[in-house]
């Protein structure tokens, strides 16, 4: 896999962000911007989750806890309208940094476990946070919820600031992903994901890179939570710390291809609109969740490693067989190895 930023990659990113940038200006049906805000939100969440769940191979199921903490932080700081306006957006970096630092001990403890045990340990984080949100009534308002100061934006362009804030967060999450991949952090994380014990054995700074990935990931998710809280205006424990949000970000990364730059984004752009569509089609019943699951199952059945890795693999195989056909008749190259030997991993 080549990790250099290629021209094609730059163009892809440029077109993607340019299109999203002009959509509010060009306009469209009323629901479009609203759907897009949630799509971009999930793309940002999933990309952030991908830092720890994808690149490091630690599938956290508790990341919505950080989302909720970010949401409540915004809700608590801006419960009165005295600050108003754009102030909540400017405070996001502080919330992000705060949560990132706070997450370090959590990551340190939870990442002493691995794989499925880690997933379960992080689920407890979700429930602890939700329980706290329900019970710390003085701070969070408990089950009655907490209102965030209404944003004093113009009705016609009310969604714009939230839309662009989400878009910026997505760009940051993807930028950090790219940076990780191109630095020794990404190289080290790849060794952790492949074989953590062996990584220790060749002197990789395993704990440090895991914590960096965990903290950055948590901080980003908290910032997204902050924007979300300001957008929805009223937050309840069961929605701010909703298991469905955790599942959403994980599923999208799996669907698109975890450990890839565009996988989580692709997953979000498929699943969120699909979910909205099914919710409309099946009305208020929760049947839409079944359709949502069906989409996921179908893709996992045919592209088990996620869309992007499966497609790249297929393309590579086709290219290799084409090259092999071209080589037929010529003398075999010394680097051609019997496939039976290639499969031995451990």
């Amino acid at each position: 896999m080549k990790f250099a930023t290629t021209r094609a990659g730059l163009i892809r990113a440029g077109v993607f962000f340019l299109v999203l940038l002009v959509i509010p200006i060009v306009g469209g049906p009323g629901y479009l911007l609203n759907t897009l805000i949630f799509t971009i939100m999930y793309a940002a969440l999933s990309s952030s989750w991908n830092l720890i769940g994808g690149y490091a191979g630690y599938p956290s199921l508790g990341h919505v806890a950080f989302f909720g903490i970010g949401a409540y932080a915004t809700g608590i700081i801006f419960s009165d309208s005295v600050y108003g306006g754009y102030a909540p957006f400017f405070l996001l970096p502080v919330i992000g940094l705060g949560v990132a630092f706070m997450s370090i001990p959590i990551g340190w403890v939870s990442m002493r476990t691995r794989a499925d045990v880690f997933a379960i340990v992080t689920i407890t984080l979700l429930f602890i946070t939700q329980t706290l949100a329900f019970n710390l009534k003085n701070v969070t308002g408990g089950a009655q919820g907490k209102s965030v100061a209404p944003a004093p934006f113009d009705v016609g362009t009310y969604d714009w600031p939230f839309y662009y804030a989400m878009l910026i967060l997505l760009a940051i999450a993807m930028g950090i992903s790219l940076y990780f991949r191109r630095s020794k952090i990404g190289l080290s994380l790849a060794t952790v994901r492949a074989d953590e014990d062996k990584a220790h054995g060749v002197g990789v700074r395993v704990t440090a890179v895991k914590l960096i990935a965990f903290a950055v990931s948590a901080g980003l998710v908290a910032m997204v939570g902050g924007v979300w809280a300001y957008y929805v205006g009223f937050i309840y424990p069961q929605f701010a710390v909703d298991p469905l949000i955790t599942i959403g970000m994980v599923l999208m990364a799996f669907l698109g291809g975890r450990g890839t730059l565009w996988g989580p984004v692709l997953g979000a752009f498929i699943l969120v609109p699909a979910q909205e569509y099914f919710a409309q089609a099946f009305g208020a019943s929760e049947l839409y969740l079944i359709a949502y699951a069906a989409v996921f199952l179908v893709i996992m059945l045919f592209l088990p490693r996620g869309i992007l890795p499966s497609i790249t693999e297929r393309l590579a195989r086709r290219r290799a067989s084409a090259a092999g056909a071209a080589r037929d008749g010529a003398s075999p190259t010394p680097s051609a190895l019997p496939t039976s030997e290639v499969k031995v991993v451990r």
């Binding site: 020794k184 790849a190 994901r193 062996k198 220790h200 054995g201 060749v202 395993v206 190895l337 030997e341």
Partner: protein, 244 residues
Amino acid sequence: MTENVLEIDHLTKRFGGVTAVNECSFTVQKGTITALIGPNGSGKTTAFNMITGYLKADSGQIRFDGETIVKPRPADLYRRGLSRTFQQARIFPELTVEENLVVAAGYSWRQLFGRRVSESDHERAKEMLGEFRLDTLAGLPSADLSYGQRKLLEFAAVLMSDPTLVLLDEPTAGVNPVMIDTMEQHIRDRHAAGVTFLIVEHDMQLVMRLCDPVIVLDQGAPIAFGSPETIQSDPKVLEAYLGS
């Protein structure tokens, strides 16, 4: 040269009721290629795992380079100059051949935030790849390597940190005869350059021509120690291998 680079003192490890390594003591002298042999289940790999920090010893002491290792941890030991390879050639299949070397070369905190493969990394890796004749494969995902090539790559990677002592766990198990000769030559080259080796190996011909001294383990403790010749004629060794 009689300086001991590694001293194992009454090392013990029990797994439930089984004592895998039992009050095991031996030393590895600087500048030697020491073999650690013994029948299956005699505790060779368990001893390796304790020495390199992968397993916590129940009791006993390990001294490396004159210092007692109080809390052996693989990464610390590796940085101090004690490297090891694994029986099954553990490499990072997703990384390229070159990256496998680069990540094992060690890096400072500042470099952690720097380029994935910098120019100087490139140079260092190139040198090692040349020595191991893997240079044509540098950019390939290491998943594409054959088993023998993986063994070579793993060996080359742990040499990137300029270790003083290298523990090889069955370096030639499961590879073809040509590759065994290649591996032997690389071990000899590095030995000539001043690296000390401790090798677990089942290929007795290789052990007898490459290693001196030889330590024989049986049931978790050394039963014989000496040159290949003396080991071969030791009745205790014959008994351990052939059964009484």
